[in-house]
Symmetry: C2
Subunit: 216 residues, 2 copies
């Protein structure tokens, strides 16, 4: 049947895409994005090099696709974290902690998102994968923003923090900076400054929590 073979081909295609993305993700993490060649990706995915070009026209699109998968995983963690928290403030911190857990449990995916955030975002035209990525981040921000609103409503977060969405963006920036510094400058922080990375992170979270919580 034509439909059956067609669907199986579709399936094989998806499987191949998955193999390529998995191979690229591992190599990006190990060697750094710009060092990885299409030849190496093809070899690890056990495909010929031109075939990789067939699925992904350039490294950027491959990277974006990998980021989308990573973002999906992170988004699920955020939803779970926010759902299991008692108060809005706890939800915000739980999301932050989920970010750190993501870093430790899926370092390869974390690395992708970290690199993506550090990349200049030009203009988002239409519904390209790039635009989907921005949309995905927007959705994630929505989760944080909802947690902040919830905190203001239940009294765990002081009402004068500012616009919840703007605060969420700031928290994203703060947590991102904390995570990126912890990831890229870990050697410097631990050796030169003598601060264990755990203490660094805990101090960071405590500082942020203090800036949000109501009362004194």
């Amino acid at each position: 049947m034509s439909t059956e073979s067609a669907s199986r081909r579709q399936e094989d295609r998806e499987k191949a895409r998955g193999r390529i993305i998995a191979a690229a993700t591992a190599l990006f993490f190990r060697h750094g994005i710009e060092k990885v060649t299409f030849g190496a990706i093809a070899k690890k995915a056990r495909l010929s090099r031109p075939l990789v070009y067939f699925y992904f026209p350039d490294k950027r699109s491959l990277f974006v696709e990998a980021c989308l998968r990573a973002g999906k995983s992170l988004g699920q963690r955020f939803v779970q974290a926010a759902a299991s928290a008692q108060s809005g403030l706890d939800a915000v911190e739980a999301i932050g902690r989920a970010y750190v857990a993501f870093h430790e449990e899926e370092p390869e995916l974390f690395f992708l998102l970290m690199a993506n955030t550090a990349t200049d975002r030009k203009l988002l035209d239409g519904d390209s994968p790039e635009a989907c990525l921005a949309q995905q981040e927007f959705d994630v921000m929505g989760l944080v923003s909802a947690a902040v609103k919830r905190g203001i409503a239940d009294g765990s977060i002081r009402p004068d923090v500012g616009d919840p969405l703007t605060v969420s963006l700031c928290l994203w920036g703060f947590t991102h900076g904390l995570a990126q510094l912890g990831a890229t400058q870990r050697a410097t922080i631990e050796n030169l400054h003598g601060t264990p990375i755990g203490r660094f992170r805990d101090t960071g979270f405590a500082t942020l929590r203090r800036s949000l919580q109501s009362g004194n």
Copy 2:
């Protein structure tokens, strides 16, 4: 005289190095670091390509050298900012504001330091330029740490923030994240989220200040 001609040669060398770094800095900022070729740098600096290789064996060392110059400029701004503040807390905020001013007044240099912080720091062997860069960052952290200590001493910063050096590292991470997000995701933040970049930054600083200040 041999000494005179030798010193003039030294001077010419330094001038050539400066020309190369200036050209590379401008191109890095305009096109992104990995897109810039040695040929383009040579052309802009009006030197032959092999000559650029003579001064800088690879792009990394050229980048590090440029970062060192940028770090020097930023360090001077920090010293001035801290000196002109009334209290320790004000000094901390002034340093943060100086970071933003640096971003706006010397975007090319800011871009370099941003890219550097996002880069994985492996191991620092001996007194290579890389190690100097780490040392320079360490010195800058010393300034922030001193400001925090000063704030605790004069009562403007709550004493229970934690170890001043660790707090400084966190503040570095926070500010870095805020700045990086503002720089790379400006289009997304302003268009998709509808938050002006100024409000984003002001909210960020207000949040950080609240987490440090003593009393209520």
